[in-house]
Symmetry: C2
Subunit: 266 residues, 2 copies
């Protein structure tokens, strides 16, 4: 490893350059899902950590990931290609392989969010939630804590959602607080993991599994430290395919990330 950091996110997404545009890393068992394979957000963030090494702009702006195969934990390779480095933005591709089989392919654009200077008009509102210290930890009620990623990310909800207790409510909607369990502050690439770190809200419709096909995340601002407020919705489950919209506001009430994934119920 080229870096030694104290946070799980940094340790487990770190990579070593092993050739031109090629990086090695170990997919850690600390970010597996109930299915026992690497979480999709963790795979995406790992690809972005490699790509950022070749791009001058400091902030992830937009990343699109297509998921090809389950990511079994263990040694993996990431290959990067920079498509264009412009004055304001830069774009590149990263693809992660296990045993020469492609797991995930990512297209991402970076910018310097501190230099964004245009107009701001907000029509959206963060979710209305009690303060985190008056909320409950829903994972204490749920078998989903069998997923090791549940040890890395903390959640707080006003009350335990029905589907966390095995009683789906049929709404496919959830609002909650979220943060890294070890206190790591979020940054744009960490947000790309966090938008895929919760139990799919489609579980509230009584299904028990969901595989991501595509996930896109847009970073709207650098997040302030502290708890992140999340609003998650699935409005259309069509013949087994569903979207999940996952928006995140930081502790100051500012929208910091918008994501949507398309997923399939097996």
């Amino acid at each position: 490893m080229t870096t030694t950091t104290r946070y799980a996110f940094d340790t487990d997404t770190a990579n070593t350059a092993v050739g031109e545009h090629e990086y090695a890393l170990d997919l850690s068992e600390r970010w597996t899902t109930m299915a026992g394979t690497a979480n999709g957000g963790y795979l995406l963030a790992s690809c972005l950590q490699a790509l950022r090494r070749e791009i001058p702009q400091p902030d992830l702006l937009s990343a699109s990931a297509h998921y090809l195969r389950p990511g079994v934990i263990g040694p993996a390779r990431i290959r990067t290609e920079v498509a264009r480095i412009g004055r304001r933005t830069a774009t590149g591709t990263a693809l992660l392989t296990r045993d020469d089989r492609e797991i995930i392919r990512v297209l991402a654009t970076f910018t310097d969010l501190a230099k964004a200077e245009g107009q701001t008009v907000e029509r959206g509102e963060p979710p209305v939630l009690p303060p985190p210290d008056r909320c409950v930890n829903p994972l204490e009620a749920m078998g989903w804590s069998a997923a090791t990623i549940a040890g890395q990310v903390e959640f707080r909800t006003a009350e335990v959602p029905g589907f966390f207790r095995g009683e789906p409510g049929g709404t496919a909607a959830a609002d909650f607080w979220l943060r890294f369990a070890d206190g790591r502050p979020a940054d744009p690439i960490a947000l790309a993991l966090l938008v895929d770190s919760a139990a799919p809200v489609v579980f509230d419709l009584g299904v028990s599994g969901s595989s991501t096909i595509e996930l896109t995340v847009h970073i709207r601002r650098r997040p302030a430290p502290g708890w992140l407020a999340c609003r998650v919705r699935t409005n259309h489950l069509v013949n087994g395919f569903h979207e999940e919209d996952f928006d995140i506001w930081d502790s100051t009430g500012a929208l910091v990330a918008q994501s949507r994934q398309l997923a399939l119920i097996p």
Copy 2:
């Protein structure tokens, strides 16, 4: 050209194989925006028409495009790479160049929507609109008809939106009907063009230009023939960057496409 078809969409997105995984096409002036360059949805659909030639699954499912440079009309090349062909889905990359400069890079996944057999739960509703024949054609009131794409796509609105008359209303929201002007029925790849074919609703905030950075579209069903009902929203304009959500329902009231783009006001 390898195909002769009577519809503008098919003629203008057609390509000729000129090498292994390489295709030639002419970017047509029939799909330019007010800026005089090729519409982003037209560039995306052109890439998808090339990629589909190498993929057995018949339907576009999900496409993510990152826009690198304006697409000047004229001769262009598309290079494709198939990442994985699976039983249910297949994924590949396409990139379009003009004079060896990359204009757009696309990641897309295809499937056979007729074989999707899972559960359906709908929480969304199409926009409430008068029938198309009791609506107005908003482009008749707008200088945006200077864009040649406005000759290829027809719109119908309950009333002319303020920003079409030079009087921005500050809502950044629009509901309308849409179809190809020459009567071509929509299909999944055509929907990938249509989600980027209208005037950006951010114009309703008084701005006059917007450049797409990233656009993702998910196809949820094969569309029925006829007018398409569209709901378009921008909720967050942050330091010049804004999202635009563009959802399309077909003439039977079924959701057929969901898209989001991230764009920058120049």
